[in-house]
Symmetry: C2
Subunit: 210 residues, 2 copies
């Protein structure tokens, strides 16, 4: 199998969501053109993205919606449950805990950690907040697949280290800091402040120009 770029995966994720909409609308077949239009991509890109994983379409007709959904579901690996540990029970952690899109896509938060002794022992829904010191055993017990970091920037790296130590192989980082993890561990970042800075850059540039 060739190497597939991150952007292709991101787009597949969009396609997946849009295809569900098309399915709800009762559409049976869809062309790369229609899909591209809603996804904000080009038809060629849609076809290229899909062709990385096989040939799913019918020439002259397009793609069978139901079929394509199930194919992408399986490519993305969201045809099974994923067990997530959340570290950081602050406001961001709380927002993530109750974020419906996660559950909808079979990501289940099965453990929450926070080093604040006032929070440890409390419950969020049916999940008890534990202290990060117990991460290793809890991660093992609850078969955690994915770690989510929602702590302040200055403790993020140590949390990541603890996750790696506990055997977690995939980490999603919301802290505003570049993290380093060993090979074999996948790290993705969501950087909210950075995106705001991109906006201010564009606005500043445009203002200077005219």
């Amino acid at each position: 199998m060739q190497k597939v770029s991150d952007w292709t995966i991101h787009r597949l994720s969009s396609y997946h969501r849009l295809l569900s909409e098309f399915a709800n609308e009762g559409k049976e077949y869809i062309s790369s053109h229609e899909l591209a239009q809603r996804a904000g991509a080009t038809p060629a890109q849609v076809r290229r993205d899909l062709s990385c994983f096989g040939t799913f379409g019918t020439k002259g007709k397009g793609y069978l919606v139901a079929d394509l959904i199930s194919k992408i579901t399986s490519i993305l690996g969201i045809d099974r449950d994923w067990r997530v540990a959340l570290v950081g029970a602050g406001r961001l952690g709380s927002a993530l805990f109750s974020y419906k899109e996660f559950r909808k896509r079979n990501f289940h938060i099965v453990a929450v950690f926070d080093s604040d002794r006032h929070k440890v022992g409390k419950h969020w829904a049916d999940v008890q907040i534990d202290h990060p010191d117990d991460m290793k055993s809890i991660v093992r017990q609850r078969k955690v697949d994915i770690g989510v970091i929602a702590v302040p920037a200055d403790t993020a790296q140590s949390v990541a280290n603890a996750m790696v130590d506990a055997g977690i192989k995939a980490i999603l980082n919301f802290a505003h800091r570049k993290l380093f993890v060993p090979d074999g561990v996948t790290l993705r970042n969501v950087n909210m402040a950075m995106e705001l800075e991109t906006l201010s850059y564009v606005m500043t540039k445009n203002r200077t120009r005219r």
Copy 2:
């Protein structure tokens, strides 16, 4: 001025943060090599990124930390205050409202909107929650520069439309949906679910392989 890629801007944002750390550590000069190492980039990339905006370094010595910080600050446009309107006073909105990294970088939330009549009229710190119907006048009055969308996916596009209608030229979207805005309006997306799916893709792929 040549075209500068989004990735360069993202990296500048990292550099900016790291340079502050170096400044705190009392470092006066820094080389592209040191900066790259902490940023997880290559020295050539650091130099290339910076060279898009001028020549800031001294051959044989590196970059003067204080100077580079102020240059990047001005490139990114974070040397002034930005006034932000937040739409969506749910958990995510609440997390964003109190997110310290925003304020630290001179992004100030000066208006909050939510269509839930139970929330309208309440205060978050010193900001009153208003109804989106009043967006246009409030945005004008409070001189809002940037809109942040933190509502469920199915209302995100209509919120974006309202923002555009109110004259907002830069939007940061947290909803899990591709939005369309007219030319002249800058849109950035933060897509948390998508990043989780990238993780599940990688984990699935690796499992299949071995």
